[in-house]
């Protein structure tokens, strides 16, 4: 050591306006003291701390100062550059709120090279399992870990495995559900593309535990790179004797194949997925019997999500107790979230269960851009709901999310701000489910369509109080009577937006207003007199003659005649037409 230059990393975390100036100040301070050979000042793009003024980090000593003022510069240089001391007053201890288990190798290993995965202790879990040669002990370890299905339902993984193991049948199957379809969720794709061997190893271990000789990856065809990399991983694993006949020289043999999903959302549902692999139309069938008893081609089948399977090898390597130490009482381990929407840092994060929304949004996500007000976070995709800001301090786990009217789901987390209309959001998710409904059962097929029509009327300002009552009744029916999870959960976005944001529905119904300015039919178009150059273009283009006036008097839009087509807004060259609520 010692040969390396020190680094002074500078970033204004409030609005980035001061980054350049502070970097210059540090530079000239270094020159003044003839220290510029010993340290380099560099402007950071991101320092993982937000809204704490100018942040300065000294590397390699890894000292972080927050809310740095000009007068602190001298002290920082004297203490931390000339010497290895610290300025206590402005010192911060940044903590990394993420724990990477599923994503431990993503971004580190070369996904197309098995040697990289092996060097990162890859397939060590499989070796341990085969050495131990005891199915019950494997399942016991998973039980101890408290791992629950990460695809959404949160069913204890060990129980699924155990049901299948208990079945007295020569042929059993394990399926990896990689039919990721929630809008805004992409964790499965990232894992398959970034670390496919983790999932392969998890599947082989699961296969051993339940007594299966064959497994399938069910990957949606829209993920070509994931398919390519999984295929590559499978052939590399075969070459190394980690897959196929006599794995690692033992008498355990196991084979894996890929099946492609053709893009139907419902095929993420277990029974529809099985039908799809069997070459049938992707429609669900009633459960029970559960697939662990009667599954693929009538044989006991375990279906686990990508993220669940990725947690298996680390649990085997480090022990179930290790994972059980992370998380809350009922939800153990970590969860990967795809954090998107109105957030400064869209990212794929892995956090311990029990973390709060506030920590995710502000400490990891960097808050909402453009100083807008945050309204809610949507979790669970089209099966989930919205969680308003007042519940942001709730620890995230399966139960808490359910109590709040949402679900964990596969891990989409979409941040919404004041510009998002809750009626519009409900409509978006419901439309998704209506499009994706397989049409087999009436509650989902008819109920979804009826609800969508009601929502559309509300968003067009044609709603009445009765619409809300009808929405509630149909929701209830769909939740109780639909055949599969798709229909049962499709009303969730409507119910949860109604629960927390009924005022917005009322605004649409009674005041014909969309405060967020999303619902086009409720726009009010007006001529802004100060900006109007009286060219008359709007009047000439209005298809219903709703614009009156002339070049001398100026123009006016008659609201009663206006059909909100937006033509005037589009043609005006001077931005003199306003649209919105006021």
């Amino acid at each position: 050591m010692g040969k390396l230059k020190k680094i002074i990393l500078v970033k204004d975390t409030a609005n980035n306006k001061e980054t350049v100036r502070f970097a210059e100040l540090f530079n000239s301070a270094l020159r003044d003291r003839a220290l510029d050979e010993q340290a380099q000042v560099v402007r950071a793009a991101d320092i993982n701390i937000y809204n704490q003024g100018v942040v300065v980090r000294i590397m390699p000593s890894d000292i972080t100062y927050v809310n740095v003022n000009e007068k602190d510069i001298d002290m920082i240089i004297r203490k931390s550059i000339k010497n290895n001391d610290i300025v206590k007053e402005i010192l911060a201890k940044p903590e990394d709120k993420q724990i990477r288990i599923v994503l431990r190798n993503c971004g580190n290993v070369d996904p197309e090279n098995i040697e990289d995965y092996l060097a990162a202790d890859g397939y060590l879990g499989l070796k341990k399992v085969l050495e131990l040669d005891d199915r019950d002990k494997v399942i016991e370890e998973i039980k101890k870990s408290g791992l629950r299905g990460r695809g959404g339902g949160g069913f204890p993984t060990w129980m699924k495995w155990n049901f299948a193991k208990e079945q007295d049948n020569e042929t059993k199957f394990i399926i990896c559900n990689a039919d990721e379809g929630d809008p805004g969720a992409y964790m499965d794709r990232s894992v398959l593309e970034g670390d496919p061997h983790t999932v392969v190893e998890g599947m082989i271990i699961a296969g051993f535990a339940i007594g299966a000789k064959k497994g399938y990856f069910y990957i949606r065809a829209e993920y070509p790179l994931a398919i390519l990399r999984v295929n590559l991983a499978l052939s590399q694993a075969r070459e190394k004797g980690l897959l196929g006949q006599n794995i690692l020289g033992t008498d355990f043999s196991f084979e894996l194949e890929i099946r492609l999903g053709a893009g139907a959302f419902v095929c993420g549902e277990e029974t529809a997925l099985i039908a799809s692999i069997e070459g049938k139309r992707g429609c669900p069938v009633p459960r029970p019997p559960y697939p662990s008893v009667i599954g693929l081609w009538g044989k006991p089948t375990v279906i686990n999500n990508v993220e669940t399977l990725s947690s298996v090898a680390p649990i085997i390597c480090k022990g179930g107790d290790w994972l059980a130490k992370i998380g809350t009482e009922k939800s153990k381990g970590t969860k990967v979230f795809a954090l998107t929407g109105k957030i400064a840092n869209s990212s794929l994060i892995e956090v311990p269960m029990g973390i709060t929304f506030r920590e995710i949004v502000y400490d990891i996500g960097g808050g909402v851009p453009d100083n807008k007000n945050i309204k809610a976070v949507q979790t669970g995709g089209p099966s989930g709901g919205v969680i308003p800001e007042k519940f942001f301090d709730t620890p995230i786990d399966y139960e808490n999310l359910q109590n709040l009217g949402s679900i964990m789901g596969s891990g989409g987390m979409i941040v919404m701000d004041e510009d998002d209309c809750m009626v519009d959001i409900a409509k978006f998710y419901l439309k998704f489910c209506v499009d994706e409904s397989c049409g087999k059962c009436a509650p989902c097929r008819i109920g979804g369509k009826q609800m969508l029509d009601l929502l559309t009327e509300i968003s067009e300002g044609k709603g009445t109080q009765e619409h809300i009552e009808k929405l509630k009744t149909i929701s209830h029916t769909m939740q109780k009577a639909s055949l599969c999870g798709l229909g049962q959960t499709a009303p969730n976005p409507v119910m949860s937006t109604l629960k927390y944001f009924e005022n917005e529905y009322i605004d649409h119904i009674e005041h014909k207003k969309c405060t967020a300015g999303k619902c086009e039919s409720l726009y009010e178009y007006k001529v802004i007199e100060e900006k109007c150059r009286r060219c008359g273009l709007c009047k000439r283009n209005c298809p219903v003659d709703a614009i009156v006036g002339d070049k001398d008097e100026g123009y006016k839009i008659i609201q009663e005649k206006c059909i909100k087509c937006g033509k005037c807004y589009e043609v005006c060259k001077f931005e003199a037409i306003s649209r919105g609520n006021n």
Binding site: M1, K5, D46, G241, T340
Partner: protein
């Protein structure tokens, strides 16, 4: 060579040892959509042209979607850095300025990774 339970410890990590100088480019769908394939090619070319002893390889998504394309660099005599928002121009700078001149590049650093052997040979 096929691995077995007995030879696992010895053989599983016998793959080619990593060069101590390397550049990793995040090449998953997300990175490629942001232009990581061009970055990857640019870096490969620049390393070759300058006859540098640096391995260039691909990785998956590191999770910082907002900062794609991401490039991580470990080169002797300079801190290990994750650069983000890398374009063709920055990719060239990474080779010429970071690897060759041992100077960090402004406005693209997303983290500096602390390690015991911080760039020391």
């Amino acid at each position: 060579m096929k691995l077995t339970i007995d030879n696992f410890e010895q053989e599983s990590k016998s793959g080619k040892p990593k060069n101590k100088n390397w550049i990793k480019v995040g090449l998953s769908t997300c990175g490629i959509a942001a232009g990581a394939d061009v970055v990857f090619e640019t870096i490969q070319k620049a390393v070759k042209e300058n006859k540098l002893d640096v391995s260039v390889f691909r990785t998956g998504c590191a999770g910082k979607c907002y900062a794609e394309p991401l490039v991580e660099v470990k080169a002797e005599g300079v801190a290990r850095v994750v650069y983000g928002g890398v374009d063709k121009d920055t990719a060239e700078k990474i080779v010429q300025k970071h690897v060759m001149a041992k100077q960090l590049i402004d406005d693209h650093i997303y983290s500096i990774i602390k390690e015991e052997d911080n760039g020391e040979a």
